[in-house]
């Protein structure tokens, strides 16, 4: 922190493995571990961030190919004013349909990315060599949605 003379290292929480449905619980657990070690985090922020990053994780699990063979690495960092997740996956090149509106009431799908975008302050995607890279940031202490 500025002013105390000892810059604080951000502790990282890392998960590596296969992007398969069973591993979604490990993503929840990773965030729970980060939140458990940061008592200052508002549970609402954690809950909304969790909702967002799971939608992105779902996307990789559902659409990443070759199915069952995609590896991913999640890294979560808690800072003074924000919480960040980075996700790298080895799936095929992918172009997310960012900026779409929330689907209408009757739609049974298509809400994943709009949910994530609504709950995050930054959501960045780029293809780096053979890896898809997502960066997701939520600023802390904002009002809940709506």
């Amino acid at each position: 922190m500025a002013g105390d003379g000892t810059p604080r290292e951000d502790k990282e929480y890392v998960l590596e493995g296969f992007a398969v449905p069973d591993q979604l619980d490990a993503v929840h657990a990773l965030l729970a571990r980060a939140a458990g070690e940061h008592a200052e985090l508002d549970p609402m922020d954690v809950m909304l961030f969790e909702t967002a990053i799971i939608e992105i994780a779902n996307n990789v699990v559902e659409w990443g190919r070759p199915e069952g063979d995609v590896r991913w690495k999640f890294t979560i960092r808690v800072r003074g004013d924000e919480i960040e997740a980075e996700l790298d996956d080895t799936g095929q090149m992918f172009t997310p349909a960012q900026g779409k509106e929330m689907p209408g009431e009757d739609a049974e799908g298509g809400r994943g990315l709009p949910i994530a975008e609504a709950l995050l302050d930054k959501i960045e995607f780029e293809r780096l060599d053979d890896t898809n890279h997502w960066r997701m940031v939520r600023r802390l202490g904002q009002a809940p949605p709506g």
């Binding site: 809950m47 779902n58 049974e108």
Partner: protein, 110 residues
């Protein structure tokens, strides 16, 4: 995800537990479809034991709601927790899936 099912005569209560996500949603949606096809088209999804829902879970609820209404029935949700309520509101689905406080309130009048 396990879910309990209780036939109350006038309606059926489905009570999923844990995470209502892309793993859990397909079997619940399939069960709702089976129930509706069998004429059990008044359904309450009791969410008191669901601590997390994602867009797949929402999709299952919307799909179930549409299936039930097409047969003249309805699907209502009860006892939703904070995360479920927040996501329903964010997606505007609270307009057609208004969360009832209890299963009894959801099934009132059936």
């Amino acid at each position: 995800m396990d879910f309990e099912e209780t036939d109350e005569g006038t309606h059926v209560v489905l009570a999923p537990e844990g995470k209502f996500n892309l793993v859990a949603a397909p079997p619940i949606k399939a069960r709702i479809d089976d129930l509706v096809a069998a004429g059990k088209d008044h359904l309450v999804v009791d969410l008191h034991a669901v601590d997390f829902i994602d867009s797949s879970g929402l999709g299952a609820l919307i799909g179930g709601l549409k299936a039930a209404r097409q047969q003249g029935g309805d699907l209502r949700i009860a006892a939703a927790g904070d995360q479920v309520r927040a996501v329903l509101k964010l997606t505007n689905l609270d307009r057609i899936l208004a969360p009832y406080a209890t299963v009894e309130e959801a099934a009132d009048g059936w």
